[in-house]
Symmetry: C2
């Protein structure tokens, strides 16, 4: 069993590649829910939706969120009636939020409604929220602490970040199927998808049971750098690294994770960093990490899995 930790577009794309490379019983995608928020009376889980839509092949690859085939009549009307439109919700997308919110209101665990929705979208691989209970990423900035979506969508990542906090993380409850994996010893590798280290992967690791399980591991942790050259493929990762005094490069990401990651997958364009990463005590695989289509996602996933297997062999 491979467990992938994912959030955002890069995470969703690698998860889709892993799902194409592995049978359903051999992959569990654990998704960041720190971005979740309550909006317009609905519970919205942006990363779960991005992973679900991407695995179902109905994601909007250009926008990086929402569905490809979408209409905006709800949002347009909401705007005309004076409602809030800074967070865009498409007409079809809205059905997911309504079903999830109703389920939550009725006491259904988030993992269960996620499973039902994913099944309706024809997804056979397990997608699990990192927690059944709400964990909320808070962004510390020069203008005070912001909720994640305020920072990310409404303020378009403009405020300079000083740090992050994952509210209610101590009460976080990983779903039962994930807890089962903690005990079973059946996990052969954990893959950190090329997601933002601070706001996609860190919230998952901040769930105490998940963090403890990975730290005491008997399996390798391999990660794909979300930074190529000096830039994030998508999103504010490089900007955040600069603002936090870290070097915005694959090497900076390697140093950020430290002992948590055993092997690194970096882009061919960064192969000159290979020696420096090796000096950090890590094994390195350089390949094409830019997932501009589903074929490239599958090839990166397959290369990452093969890389992970070399650790198992080394240990075995």
């Amino acid at each position: 069993m491979i467990v992938a930790l994912a959030g955002g577009v890069g995470g969703a794309r690698l998860a889709a590649g892993l799902a194409a490379a592995l049978p359903a019983r051999e992959l569990t995608v654990v998704v960041n829910t720190g971005d979740d928020f309550e909006h317009l009376g609905l519970t919205i889980c942006p990363d779960l939706d991005t992973v679900m839509y991407t695995l179902a092949g109905i994601n909007n690859a250009i926008a990086g969120w929402g569905r490809a085939d979408e209409s905006w009549n709800f949002m347009d009307t909401l705007g005309k009636l004076g409602g809030e439109t800074w967070f865009r919700l498409g007409d079809r997308d809205l059905a997911v939020h309504v079903i999830r919110s109703l389920a939550a209101h009725g006491g259904m665990p988030l993992s269960e409604v996620t499973r039902k929705l994913a099944s309706r979208f024809g997804i056979r691989h397990a997608i699990l929220p990192m927690s059944e209970t709400p964990v909320r990423t808070r962004v510390r900035t020069g203008h005070g602490e912001l909720s994640f979506q305020d920072y990310f969508v409404r303020l378009r990542c403009r405020p300079r970040v000083r740090g992050f906090r994952f509210a209610h993380r101590r009460q976080a409850a990983p779903p039962a199927p994930l807890r089962k994996l903690f005990r079973a010893g059946a996990v052969t590798a954990v893959v950190l998808c090329p997601s933002n280290p601070y706001v996609s992967i860190a919230p998952i690791l901040a769930v105490p049971e998940i963090g403890a399980w990975i730290r005491r591991r008997d399996f390798p942790v391999v990660a794909i750098s979300p930074i190529i050259g000096r830039a994030a493929v998508k999103g504010p990762a490089a900007k955040m690294m600069r603002e936090l005094g870290q070097e915005p490069s694959a090497l900076g990401v390697v140093r950020h994770y430290g002992r948590l990651v055993d092997g690194w997958v970096i882009d061919n364009r960064d192969s000159k960093l290979g020696a420096a990463i090796a000096r950090e005590g890590k094994r390195v695989l350089a390949t094409n990490t830019l997932m501009t289509d589903r074929g490239k996602s599958l090839r990166l996933a397959a290369a990452t899995l093969a890389f992970a297997r070399t650790f198992a062999t080394a240990r075995g």
Copy 2:
């Protein structure tokens, strides 16, 4: 000031005619909220919406509910995901329900969010819910008591009715602007629109303060029969009358209301009933009551207003 009591399609069409005939300061439309219900986590007020959309000229005249220019991508997706689709909500329509539900959740009175929505739709005349607090029409049938929308939409009015109950009517709180009219003595006539007597007008009259105000009136009450010949223009009114042992005719409607109504507007096709209605002690106006376009709504409204003025003159 003319106060019109309205619910359903006939009520909305006469309300639009009255709004075309009267300046904004001379008309208040009081709308049935007994049909309101909670669905998909939203507070839905079908009669308020029908009146609002009809006054705004954006109603779907063929369906008799919803908006003319509408899309169904939310509902179609909801169905594919296993959600409930028996109550159809269009993508544009949904914006109204979301705004109203958010307002209710935030403690805003229903009359206030209705005023704001109507204003955004360009409506200048006052549309008021009969109560700020929920009143719920319950339908007694051979198969037990049903919620109104269960009976009306889900079961398509098939169950035989035995009676009605307006849950929470004793706690009903008419909006402040309506209470002001109770005291002011400025009302020159109340018009009962050609709405279903049992499930559109009766819930309004069942609000204790509204019923008491109309019974102790110093103004005439005129009504338009929702029955032409032996049939309701739209909806289950004639079926309900038969099931309750009342004659499904304009005369049956007259007898149903008894002393509450002073003058009746009936269709030309029922002019032969004029003498029988006169024997009930009522004045009668026969005219064309079928509002198949906005011009006909305006002409019926103007004729009804002229008819109401003859009572004022008689009393004066």
